[in-house]
């Protein structure tokens, strides 16, 4: 480990550390533009000059290009280096426009900071400035190329880091231009990071365009709840509106970046651009009432129904976007009051998959996104990462850049920003494929060393998997897997069979036993699926299983806490009928859902930006989101009124757990359970270990050291090929449009993908359909119209329908459907 001296301070750093990073560890921030930890060093901007006084190197050098070495004595304040940096700034400013007042980067601009701190204040150069024309880059990012200082961060991020090719440098010399060959929306769903990464105002975000300066923002660390990964964010608010969401560096989760859904999908909390889309007020039968009146109404009605029909006639619905606090409260209330529930999921199959996965995660096998970046072999089984958990794709991209082999076993037409082998196996074939791949990688010697259960499992794995269409040889891949040291299995929980999550865990376990540092990474359906699974038991029901009881009149009251069965229940009419039979529908929510519209009593709850809350991501990592602002109807868009008020319009919302506690009329609750930390620990035993007095819980994973899960002998998968003619229609996720709460953000509405049905091109040919046709699909309970997209890279005999907001697909009896060929027509 080299030891060096920087500005009279001595430090020892790992080999390969750049001098600029060594200085940062000492708290000395050497000015920089092009260097970025995630992007590496290129030495393009010359801003990080320091003077090397002693050691192997002498003179003014770029600190980002030089590895720290023993005996170096470095000065960042040496006059020669200071002068050098000052001249660099002056020449960078030669072409810089006089834009700060109208530039949204102003106030958070690295170029501004470094210009001011270098002391360059007056322009000496009388010549003319270079100019560029801008491009339209889509609805998220504004482009103003004159401000560029040619640090190449954007193109390095966009092309090398995130793997998209449509933005990059054009031209040569003094005329280098960063943009697209043709203007148009950026293809990358990670484009928003350009705003963070560019040290100047070339890329600025459009949702907050011209609206605010950094110094006026209320900022707090927050967490993205749009998908299970729980990327770390910073919420920024002003005038009671969240203005923007930025990435917050977390080395284990999202690194420095976010996906565009997480970054731009926040406007639901403001009620959209017109602020009218969020239900701000408490309501009884649709009429606005005071908070107290609504709470009293809910409490008395629930008590009444419990008294007449018994507490079992009351059901509490939670969801996978509830905070951990809310989930714990729901669980506690159900137990203490005798209500049925809490119910977390609609679809029993999804629920069982989530549970079987969560049970198998332990700290030996679970990997973080950071660890995925260092994997050398990644198998993605039944997950469409860009659409289900975008940043996971970004993590795998980093592994791919380090030459990892990536295999995706999924029936959908997957696209990912890196090279991968796609085996479009049908869901029922995924286990076969995965099993034979793993089996082939286990050598005879390794097999001998296994204990009997591992041996039994391994032997029962299918030896062969035929994949004719993709032309991929599993045995060749097995050979590569055999030599891998850090393989990771990423397993979805959406379209896969119920046994697959556990099977994937067994495979990962087997790889571990064969001496590899194998990892397992699940993609779960929602931000807090993990904790809902922890709070469930074998008796926990899903909404589909509860529904018949409502229809039979056994259930009289429903308390839907940030839960909207209409979102993904397949039979909308049946659901509508059932809900109308209820005596009482209490809804607690912040989104304008279908369920909210039908509420007997409605209580507005706080969004993640308006309260302190905890979320557990899909690898069991506990993360805390701080309150960014108080919230309320934003002041944006029109003149604020000239009146003096002593209340905040729209400020009635409360955290859902608090509302629940109030309507439960459990006055003794906070006497027996003093703090939120204790509440959580009382409901979820693993938090005992974390220490319940430690609230907020801000870090750590709550997974056991060793899970009890053991090898389950794989069932023989069903024979390939369908007998009846027709298609298996499965519902899938799609980025931007299919997840609560981001799908309610009007900032994303313009990028909702077009309603598209995916079909294999062979199947389409057979049916006389082709790419781009508008088709009508007759589901069991009605027809939907959408565009057809055909692909060769998907499983035959399947149709994939995105569960997207705005497509009224809820005309099915079950969570999947069988579609006879004559029920798809071209229109």
């Amino acid at each position: 480990m080299p030891r060096l001296v920087i500005d009279d301070l001595e430090i020892e750093v790992p080999k390969g550390t750049k001098v600029i990073d060594a200085a940062e560890r000492l708290g000395i921030m050497i000015p920089r533009f092009c260097y970025h930890e995630a992007l590496g060093a290129v030495g393009a901007c010359r801003m990080c000059a320091v003077k090397f006084i002693e050691g192997p190197l002498k003179g003014v050098q770029m600190s980002c290009m030089i590895d720290a070495q023993d005996g170096m004595v470095v000065s960042t304040t040496d006059q020669e280096a200071v002068d050098f940096r000052k001249r660099v700034i002056e020449w960078l400013m030669i072409n810089h426009p006089h834009d700060c007042p109208v530039c949204d980067e102003g106030g958070q601009c690295l170029l501004q900071d470094e210009t001011v701190s270098s002391g360059h204040g007056r322009r000496r150069y009388p010549g003319r400035k270079r100019t560029y024309r801008n491009q339209y880059l889509g609805p998220f990012i504004a482009h103003e190329m004159n401000r560029c200082i040619h640090c190449y961060r954007c193109s390095r991020y966009y092309q090398e880091f995130s793997g998209y090719r449509d933005l990059g440098p054009l031209q040569i010399g003094n005329r280098v231009y960063f943009g697209r060959f043709k203007e148009g929306r950026l293809e990358s769903p990670f484009s928003g990071n350009l705003v963070d990464i560019c040290p100047t105002g070339v890329y600025t975000d459009i949702p907050a365009r011209f609206k605010v300066r950094r110094w006026d923002l209320q900022r707090a660390p927050s967490v993205c709840i749009n998908c299970p990964l729980g990327c770390n964010t910073i919420g920024n608010s002003h005038y009671r509106a969240v203005m923007r969401v930025e990435a917050r560096m977390n080395p284990y989760v999202n690194g420095y970046f976010l996906c565009d859904e997480g970054r731009f999908g926040f406007s639901y909390t403001n009620g959209g651009a017109d602020h009218a889309q969020r239900p701000w007020n408490s309501r009884i039968s649709g009429a606005d009432v005071t908070v107290e009146a609504a709470l009293a109404e809910s409490a008395s009605k629930i008590a009444e129904i419990s008294a007449i029909y018994g507490p079992g006639a009351v059901v509490a619905l939670g969801s996978t976007r509830n905070s951990l606090e809310t989930q714990s409260m729901l669980s506690r209330l159900c137990r203490r009051k005798g209500w049925q529930g809490p119910v977390w999921f609609n679809d029993p199959a999804i629920y069982r998959k989530v549970r079987s996965g969560v049970e198998r995660l332990d700290s030996g096998i679970a990997v973080s996104m950071r660890e995925i970046e260092f994997a050398d072999f990644v198998i993605v089984a039944g997950a469409d990462l860009l659409n289900e958990a975008p940043m996971a794709a970004m993590a795998i991209r980093q592994a791919s850049r380090k030459n990892a082999t990536i295999i995706v076993v999924d029936p959908r037409p997957i696209s990912l920003p890196f090279e991968f082998r796609h085996i479009p196996a049908a869901p029922a074939q995924i286990e076969r494929c995965l099993g034979s791949l793993v089996k082939g990688s286990i050598s005879k010697d390794e097999l001998k060393g296994f204990d009997s259960s591992a041996k039994g499992f391994c032997k029962a794995l299918p030896a062969k998997f035929e994949e004719k269409e993709s032309g991929i040889s599993i045995s060749e891949l097995s050979g590569q897997l055999m030599s891998a040291k850090r393989p990771v299995i990423v397993c979805g929980t959406g379209i896969v069979c119920e046994s697959t999550p556990a099977f994937a865990a067994d495979c990962a376990q087997l790889l571990r036993e064969s001496g590899k540092k194998a990892g397992l990474f699940y993609i779960l359906p929602g931000a807090s699926s993990f904790s809902s699974a922890l709070l469930s038991g074998p008796e926990t029901k899903t909404f589909s299983e509860i529904l018949p009881q409502i229809e039979e009149g056994l259930i009289k009251a429903l308390i839907a806490t940030e839960s909207d069965p209409f979102w993904d229940f397949p039979d909308r009419e049946r659901l509508d009928r059932a809900l109308s039979m209820l005596d009482l529908l209490v809804v607690i929510d912040y989104l304008p859902t279908e369920t909210v519209k039908r509420a007997t009593v409605f209580h507005p709850s706080s969004t993640v930006f308006e309260m302190n809350s905890t979320f557990v991501n899909q690898e069991g990592r506990v993360q805390h989101a701080e309150r960014v602002h108080v919230g309320g109807v934003p002041i944006w868009g029109a003149h604020p009124p000239r009146i003096i008020r002593n209340f905040v319009p729209g400020g009635d919302h409360q955290p859902a757990w608090e509302l629940l506690w109030k309507i439960s009329a459990e006055t003794s609750m906070l006497e027996s359970v003093l703090t939120l930390g204790e509440l959580i620990a009382a409901e979820i035993p693993v938090f005992e270990a974390v220490g319940h007095s430690k609230y907020p819980i801000t870090e750590g994973r709550i997974i056991p050291e060793n899970s009890e899960g053991s090898f389950v002998k794989p069932k023989a998968s069903p024979a390939k090929g369908q007998t009846a003619k027709g298609f298996n229609l499965l519902l899938t996720d799609t980025i931007f449009a299919s997840r609560e709460p981001s799908a309610y953000a009007d900032t994303l509405a313009s990028v909702f993908p077009e309603a598209t049905l995916f079909m294999h091109s062979g199947d389409a040919n057979g049916a006389g359909l082709s790419e781009g046709d508008m088709v009508s699909v007759e589901l069991e309970l009605g027809a939907i119209q959408l565009k057809l997209s055909v692909s060769q890279r998907m499983a035959r005999g399947f149709l994939f329908l995105p569960r997207q907001r705005g497509i009224h697909w809820q005309k099915m009896k079950e969570f999947s459907a069988w579609i006879a060929p004559e029920r798809i027509r071209k229109i």
């Binding site: 426009p97 006089h98 007042p101 109208v102 400035k129 270079r130 231009y177 011209f210 605010v212 006026d216």
Partner: protein, 184 residues
């Protein structure tokens, strides 16, 4: 002896001191008075006097303010509130602009910070009100239809954004780079 001398000298000094001030008073008795009979007579103030604030327009008659938030940031009493917005032609402007004159201390820092010369203090100080809400001036009340102290300055002619004039047409600009040509 020396003691008596010094006492006498002190005494003389005191008497002279008194006489001096009486002399000044006496002299002023016969001078022309400088008191202005305000409000009957209204004295002209220097242009730089710091009184009621206005928002000026550029030489084309467009609002100068670009809602950059610098005045509201520098204001020591936090009495300026703004909401920036984008006009159809890309111009950045304040959707609303509010100054609470009940709080303003007429320090002039806002004027100093303003990069577009939009916000200016004027010599007008006479605007007492009965109600505090009446001191809250909106953009309609602040915006004037002249250029204030500087008739020429037009920020957008110097900036790089193409609001007034295309790229390359502003002061001191080269024509835009043609990214699709390799000719020098």
């Amino acid at each position: 002896m020396a003691q008596i001398k010094s006492v006498l000298r002190d005494l003389l000094d005191d008497v002279l001191g008194l006489a001096d001030s009486y002399a000044v008073t006496l002299k002023h008795l016969f001078r022309k008075p400088i008191t202005e009979q305000y409000p009957e007579y209204k004295r002209l103030f220097a242009e730089r006097t710091r009184g009621r604030i206005i928002l000026t327009r550029d030489p084309h008659g467009e609002e100068r303010c670009v809602a950059c938030y610098l005045c509201s940031a520098v204001c020591p009493t936090d009495c300026i509130s703004i909401e920036g917005a984008e006009r159809k032609d890309g111009r950045r402007y304040p959707l609303w602009f509010r100054i609470n004159f009940a709080r303003c201390i007429y320090c002039g820092l806002c004027e100093e910070a303003c990069p577009t010369l939009a916000i200016q203090l004027t010599p007008d100080f006479e605007f007492s009100k009965y109600g505090v809400l009446d001191f809250i001036y909106e953009k309609e009340d602040l915006l004037v239809d002249h250029q204030g102290k500087n008739a020429e300055y037009d920020y957008y002619r110097h900036a790089g954004v193409s609001v007034e004039g295309d790229k390359g047409e502003h002061i001191n600009e080269k024509p835009p780079v043609d990214v699709k040509s390799n000719l020098p």
